[in-house]
Subunit: 299 residues, 2 copies
């Protein structure tokens, strides 16, 4: 199915809005230390599909969240995501030279600056989220900061990366693979949805559970499709080194389920995501379209 | 002058309290991913003089801040400090093998785990500070999270490290050296004082300015003494590699001012710190003693 033109236009508008927001939330590269600030900006700006901001804005739309608060929350999540890529690409981790079609940060700026830029981006994410003087009241803002910290740390993204690291060359079971991805990429995708929604209101337990189910399904779908693309697309299309998982002997959905079953799983997860949104009716239109997009993307 | 016995006892009590607090605020190393959690605990527990927690508790005492809130704020700052040491010791940064008399985290756990443990400790710091359900109201807690993020990032600690990195082999002016340290170590020492005080109450501008002056003087004194010790003490006493600054051709107070003038500067800064505390009278007794300790320390 083709995305409807209004959705494509909404997406483009969010991406443009986010580029401006991220630009404004990052220190200028004319401010000292200039090299560090240049590396932070290089890592964040002009790159990526902004999937996490799109999820935040789409979830915010369910509850009519104000745009300024959404831009701030989405920028915070995107900075966490960007810093994790900088560190993940470093020689002691994945040792990758290409990201979003550009040299990785440590190739461009050196390892020490890449390490510091990643560290400073994590701080900046919490700073941006804490600094808002918008519609979000302090108690809700503290809750949002807590969710972001939890999703980023050892029980979220960093924990998933550690499991990933320890699993190279090992035979994982499907539940183990799922748990790894639930942390490594799922936690941040989930918090994107939650922070977007929380920009609108404090959630009822029912709303929270529905969004959690949606985010869990979409998060896993995202990873399954990532594995499919790593096995089928070329580096030029992906903007990063393709076939790397197989070369690194990393367990993937494709290596465990095969290509066709992986694709079928992605479609099933999209349907699960749609089902979770039923209570919200038409208000969740954008979240529904994003689930479609995540499953159908080519890069 | 000798520290009074009651102060020494207070210090020991805070250190014991902090060890327990940090232990409780860190995930268990029996929880998966176990290796990551073990590295985080190794980096934080059983080490260091806990200067930052001592500053937080001493500042809290000025405003009768509740202990539970202080332990939480102090633990957050100490986790930021600990993560910065883990990353700073890595081969692409200072490449140091010894810290607090033990092998550094990357020597003990490998570089990838060290990188992730540092990243996860930063998240954990914000999580610990955001999670409190103690006497600090949400608006004040947001302000504290903002201060911690600002002190940790590119306009604080990470920025100072970047300037330090860029200055190896260069001739710095004294103001440039001071600016580097004001960010690299000063920002986190200052935020320790501020967070401790904020655990007690929202500060008046006068209180804030006085604490700022105290923290600036103590922060700089701390660094001057560090340089003196690096030039005069042995590795066994320091628990880290001595003489490293000279070997790395890094600008230090000793290389710029000489030993005696550096020692005189440290004493002058201690006096400045004492003067800044005048408005608080006897309530600032512990902060005063800490300024003495920082200047007189032997390691």
């Amino acid at each position: 199915m083709m995305p409807d033109p209004a959705f494509a236009e909404w997406m483009r508008a969010v991406q443009v809005r986010m580029e401006a927001a991220l630009d404004g939330f990052l220190p200028s590269d004319t401010e000292a230390p200039a090299q560090l600030h240049a590396a932070m900006r290089y890592a964040v700006l002009d790159g990526g599909k902004r999937v996490r901001p799109l999820l935040a804005f789409a979830a915010g739309a369910v509850f009519e969240a104000p745009e300024a608060a959404l831009a701030r929350a989405a920028a915070a999540v995107e900075m966490i995501h960007a810093y994790s890529l900088v560190h993940d690409d470093m020689p002691c981790m994945d040792d990758d030279a290409l990201r979003r079609g550009k040299p990785t940060v440590h190739v461009q700026f050196g390892e020490a600056t890449a390490l510091l830029a990643g560290d400073a981006l994590q701080s900046q994410a919490f700073l941006v989220l804490a600094e808002g003087s918008d519609a979000v009241d302090p108690a809700r803002r503290v809750a949002m900061l807590r969710l972001l910290a939890d999703a980023s740390g050892s029980r979220g993204m960093c924990g998933g990366q550690a499991i990933d690291l320890a699993s190279v060359g090992l035979t994982l079971t499907l539940p183990q693979l799922e748990q790894m991805h639930r942390l490594k990429t799922g936690a941040l995708l989930r918090v994107s949805v939650m922070l977007g929604a929380l920009c609108g209101k404090t959630l009822t337990p029912t709303e929270e559970a529905a969004l959690n189910d949606y985010a869990a399904a979409v998060g896993l779908a995202f990873q399954v499709v990532d594995d499919v693309l790593d096995a089928t697309a070329d580096s030029g299309t992906l903007g990063k080194t393709a076939g790397k998982d197989a070369a690194d002997n990393k367990p993937t959905y494709v290596s465990m389920l095969g290509l066709e079953q992986s694709q079928a799983l992605a479609r099933k997860l999209r349907d699960d995501a749609h089902k979770a949104l039923a209570p919200f009716g038409d208000r969740a239109h954008l979240l529904r379209e994003l689930a479609n997009l995540i499953v159908q993307r080519k890069a």
